[in-house]
């Protein structure tokens, strides 16, 4: 039984990592296209609130998730407009998106605070009654979607022509423009994808993780997802390790509170944030820095020649 409990913990952790995984996979694509979108937190909150509202009003899980993704994508296009068309500073525009998203989500969800939902049903596994291990594999559809997205992004970036163009745009927008590729179009699409994934990640929080809505419920996960992209060196499959690690730190906090240790709970709550810093420090060593695949044009504004 001991083995099963370890496996159970591992799978709980994996499930808890889904919102990070979705948001980070989206942001990874955005950054590979050379755009730094710091508005993840805002887009996740928008996705969380819209997903929740649509679920309560329509009753359909699918429509709720779809709506969350669409809102995330639409909302991200505000950022895209400022950053791409108006050539605004990406850091400032991303912060604006975070602040605006937090405010909008609070206003939209004001009437839904305290409403509770049954959690999203899990996908049944055939034969789960035969062996308890198989039963552990029952998870919400969004969990499997998260894994699928990572695989899909990996394939898209490194095995498709469109992914090659996207990486090219992120490496040198001037060169891509000179070869006739539409830098702004590629980036706008990438940002929309990132927004959709962030929206889904937010929806996971409000529909699966803690099926209720509260203001600021992302609690900095958008920012941690940003750090995860750095951690993954802009390679999708490495996100799996990163998200798993961070989710396990979060889970540790919950377990530790259960053990009523002498350490105050606030210090356990600090762990994910401190771990983020620790990881960033670790990766900043010269050895790892040389192995990073940071897109060369990341964060730079593209102004086409007139």
């Amino acid at each position: 039984m001991l083995e099963i409990s370890w496996l159970a913990i591992a799978l709980t952790i994996a499930a808890a990592s889904t919102p990070l995984l979705l948001a980070a996979a989206g942001e990874l694509v955005v950054e590979r296209a050379g755009v730094l979108n710091l508005g993840l937190e805002g887009m996740m909150l928008m996705g969380a609130v819209i997903g929740f509202i649509v679920k309560v009003e329509s009753g359909s899980w699918f429509v709720a998730c779809l709506a969350a993704a669409c809102v995330g994508a639409l909302f991200s296009q505000a950022f895209a407009f400022f950053v791409l068309t108006l050539r605004a500073n990406q850091v400032a525009a991303g912060l604006a998106l975070t602040i605006l998203g937090g405010g909008l989500a609070a206003v939209l969800g004001a009437g839904y605070v305290g409403v509770s939902l049954a959690p999203m049903p899990r996908i049944p596994v055939v034969g789960s009654e035969l062996h308890p291990w198989l039963g552990l594999l029952e998870h919400s559809p969004l969990f499997w979607l998260g894994l699928l997205v990572v695989v899909g992004v990996q394939w898209f970036l490194f095995h498709s022509r469109a992914g090659l163009v996207l990486r090219a745009v992120g490496d040198s927008h001037d060169s891509a423009h000179a070869l006739g590729y539409s830098v702004l179009k590629v980036r706008a699409l990438a940002i929309a994808f990132g927004g959709a994934m962030a929206g889904l990640g937010g929806a996971y929080l409000s529909l699966v993780h803690t099926p209720l809505w509260s203001e600021g419920m992302t609690a900095g996960r958008g920012w941690i997802a940003l750090a995860l992209v750095v951690f993954a060196f802009w390679r999708p499959w490495r996100l799996l390790f990163g998200t798993f690690f961070f989710a396990s730190v979060t889970i540790l906090e919950i377990y530790a509170q259960g053990f009523s240790l002498a350490v105050p709970p606030q210090f356990f709550a600090m762990l994910p944030y401190l771990a983020t810093i620790a990881i960033l420090v670790f990766l900043s060593s010269a050895y790892w820095r040389g192995r990073s695949d940071a897109p060369a044009a990341l964060g730079k504004t593209f102004a086409p020649p007139y």
């Binding site: 090659l164 090219a168 490496d171 040198s172 060169s175 000179a178 070869l179 006739g180 060369a296 020649p305």
Partner: protein, 574 residues
Amino acid sequence: MEVCGCVFVTCACFMATFDVSPLLEIRAISKRFGDLTANDAISLTLRRGEIHALIGENGAGKSTLMQILYGRITPDAGEILLEGKPLAAGTAAARAAGITMVFQQFVLFEALTGLENLRLGLGNGMKPRALRDKALAFAERYGFWVELDRRVSELSAGEHQRLEVLRCIMQEPKVLIMDEPTSVLTPQEADGLFETIRLLARNGTGIVYISHKLREIRALCERATVLRRGRVVARPDPQKTELDAMARAMLGDDAVALADLAETEDKATGTLSAVPSVPTMPSVLPPRETTRLFVEGLTLPSVHRQGVGLSDISFSVAAGEIFGIAGIAGNGQNTLLEALTGERLLPHGQEQAIRLQGRAVGQLGVLARRRLGLATVPEDRHGHGAVGDLTLKENILLTSTHVTHGEDALVRRFACSGGWLRLRRAGMVAEQVLARFAIQGAEARGPDTLARKLSGGNLQRFIVGRGLLHAPDLLLVLQPTWGVDAHAAARIHQALREAAERGAGVLLISQDLDELLALSHRIAVLARGQLSRPFICADFKDSPAGKSELRHALGLLMTGLGGTSTNPDREKVL
């Protein structure tokens, strides 16, 4: 393969003889940028298989015209016909119609492999394996070889060029535009490129060749169009026209002024030394009494993983001497510059490797070396030598903090050493520099002009002027006339000569052999981080044959084939 090529060539010749309508017609193209007329009703025709030279100074409008042709810039007026049909707007349309361009600054993706770069350059969805075969076939047909599986950032400048050319010719273009393609090539590599270009032309491609190197144009082109200040001023036959006449057409009124300038700087010859194609060499080696800079056994890795570091470099610069370091960019020039200026400090125990005025400075920072009399003119005007968004008087403060020596009292006292700025005095000093170097473009606001409002040549003159403010004992100059008009280049060369005459040591690092040959007393070559032994230019002065012998020897060293290279086979020449 050879048979194939022959048949191909014959067919193309056949077509060329029978089809007399022009391949490309540019009709009265105009483009204005605000007050500046970049192109004023320019017309040009290109025949199949023709290599057409487009000549002009920096800022004459060549690049604008070609960017319009390539669809990157939309013209204000005029039209372009390709095979009689008007060309639609946009780069994608131009490329689809068969126009490609080899850019002066390579259009490559550093993080991607050579093959991926080729895939991006070819619009169709060809499978990578088929593409590789096609690339190898083309490379073989045109007689050169490129690395396809390594990242572009790991390749040399020559390989970048070949990759870029390969990508263009694989599209089997009708029109190929080449913008200063030899600026990063050694003379030998350039010869290889010329062979490729001729072969392309024989196959029927029309080639527009942009350059200001008249000698190359003479070797390569059948017809030429000369631009000056956005207008067509002459259409000489490069095979029949004297170089001097072409230069005069290119420079116009400036030629007279330049001749005056040249006379003052070189009375002995009286030639137009400012025109890069007609270099004069310094005749005597100055006496080596005082050593300004002494470098011995300098070894330093590059900060970038793929960058070229320095291995065991030794040389010295005497007072009154201009010491030239030739070499293609990317062979350790940046590392050398950073090590010499103090932007990078040498590791402990190596401080003796660089001695300035007899003092070991390997561990001293920028400010300390500046106090010892070092002044620097870096390659990059925007963002290194000057900050575009700051005013000229603020820019003049960049190299003046903590320095207290200079020709006059004002210069000695305007700089600050922390605390508050002395902006009014800085303005007066900036005013002096503007006047002394006849810098244009700052008339309205004087020292309050933003640096980016100056043209490249004027800003470079300002930076050189600033470098000379504190009467430096050692002047470190990297590519001082890159992208600068002839007038400014002449001024800058004159300033360097004057600095040397006054007793400063001048270290000139450049990839322009003409410039080096015109100025330097001694020249060494930096290739793959290693420095060759210096050539004394006066030894080659006597005959024209000597000069070309020196040029050839330097070129070989730049390619890395001159004996210093550890593995000469690695780099195949074009």
